[in-house]
Subunit: 363 residues, 2 copies
Amino acid sequence: MDDYKKIEYDRGYEFCCLVFEYLGIPKKDSQQIADVVLTSDLMGIESHGLQRLKMYYDGSKAGRINPNAQPKIIQETMVSAVIDADEGYGQIVGGKAMKLAIQKAKEAGIGMVLVKNSSHYGIAGYYSMMAAKEGLLGISMTNSEALVLPTFGRTPVMGTNPIALTMPAKPYPFHIDMATSVVPAGKIEVYNKKQKAIPIGWVLNAEGKNTTVAQDFINIRKNKTDGGLLPLGGTGETHGGHKGYGLSMMVELMTGILSGGCTSYYVRRDTIKERCCHMFMAIDYAMFGNKEDVEKHMSAYMELVRASNKSEGETRIYTHGERELSQFNDRKMNGFYINGKTYEELEAIAAEAGLDKQKYLGA
Amino acid sequence: MDDYKKIEYDRGYEFCCLVFEYLGIPKKDSQQIADVVLTSDLMGIESHGLQRLKMYYDGSKAGRINPNAQPKIIQETMVSAVIDADEGYGQIVGGKAMKLAIQKAKEAGIGMVLVKNSSHYGIAGYYSMMAAKEGLLGISMTNSEALVLPTFGRTPVMGTNPIALTMPAKPYPFHIDMATSVVPAGKIEVYNKKQKAIPIGWVLNAEGKNTTVAQDFINIRKNKTDGGLLPLGGTGETHGGHKGYGLSMMVELMTGILSGGCTSYYVRRDTIKERCCHMFMAIDYAMFGNKEDVEKHMSAYMELVRASNKSEGETRIYTHGERELSQFNDRKMNGFYINGKTYEELEAIAAEAGLDKQKYLGA
């Protein structure tokens, strides 16, 4: 890990809080954003951790995100709500929206809360885990800047549109948080920082050809040309590319369409604002049976899968969430690593914001 | 289409009804099963149409499905229910369960109905379309016989576990119905009947190697050996195989786990019964905004995607449901084609059930 630098969790968190306060976000809200960012790093999701701080920082400075946003509930029933985020931080309204979904699930069994006019909300899995911590099944989805190609198309018309779901189980919850594209955009950013070639089957360049150059994707995004990420399942239909494309459209429906907000094609387009939309759902599975039995059943099934026969040369089968959560506490205690280029980005932000680099970022 | 034979819709439907009546299913219920089967053929989903009649027929004869099943609601709230299907036909309890979900959605906004101890219910999309016909967003999932490999595994521990979702839109609804494996099992059955090689990346044989021989999969299923279908995203994690595996686990959770029924690993294992589980959800999007506006927004977005730039050599981008539904009425008026081997299976069933082959199946 020669190009990587270690960050202590407590200091990284405090640094992140202070950066958002510097950007004009109230202290409590800054803590919420920092918690989403640092949770990614603690889960080993480098792409969505401090690696993304510069994107948020630049977005705030450019006026893409409203620091004084006043989210408002504009529709509400016993099981549902629609919130207008007033162009604020996705992490702030996201936390509030999932809390509302949780409250509704506890009262009515299911809560489904949609958010429009928001901005990038970080890892989708942060919100589904909030529900699981309350003993509920949690689901979250978001649309995002159009970067993904439909089957047979060459213009990105869909976001990477992740789906996250968390279900309480032991020793780890079942926790999936997946872009409906082959990989999320942040993963290409990380490859680019590492100057590493990306595998064939991730990105088509502006000419519609497979590329292994991460920078090609960065350029597509910057210049809004044709080309982009392939949907899960890849090119064409033979290996199910139309399924990834369909899952992405499903997320557009559950977020931008149902909320009356924007679809990914219009996110960060035409105006300076982001305008993404999110969906949060909590389900109290007590309405289907004894909760403890349901959790035990899930745990036993995951154990059955992990214990099943391995492919040649493989020693383990992982269930979803295991790898992300098994090292969570260790990273919190002992720190985690960020890319040297990310570190340089943080240094530059520290200098601008007048924060003590040595104190927060270490050596 | 030299190996294919034409079937007139009306006669095929009547034939199907009479076969199920011969198997001891009441007339009205036989019509429901036949409607699910024939709807598949009308949508061009050959794998789940009359091609599957022999599987149902043999299953009934073998006692896998209870012809006198009395499904019972065993848990119920305003927004949810759990139904024990009493080992009956999935199509019968499936129709009833989605009707209940629709009724709950009309009253409370959302209805989520789970079914356990059921059997193969046909195309998942049949049920999500039922909700869309009532002006609701419909979702359905089912688990099924374990035929799919987890990432890094060689034993099938998950079913093909399809997800279906239908949302009203014009000129066609958004309608997705996808196995979470690269392809559904029925597609391999069709390739086998055609004696056609399957593409690399669909099936690993009992030794864990890629195979192009459809019969390898048929043998895995018959002999319950290692090997099976790859999850959407394929082998390993590079192209997202862990995502298809995770989606399949998500379906296990929403069906077998939450209902207190069986996971796919135990479907058709140890006992003669099938014991699959289904999930049905209906959402009245009136609770989020003006219904007509929401539908218009969805229609416009699908049109934007269809109209976007095409890949080199491609002339069309399809939205989900377009191909299945655009020829539906034509097939209903003018008939559809079934494989010669499927035709022979139907002839044998006709002979056993004492049905006039000439009258129902034509020449």
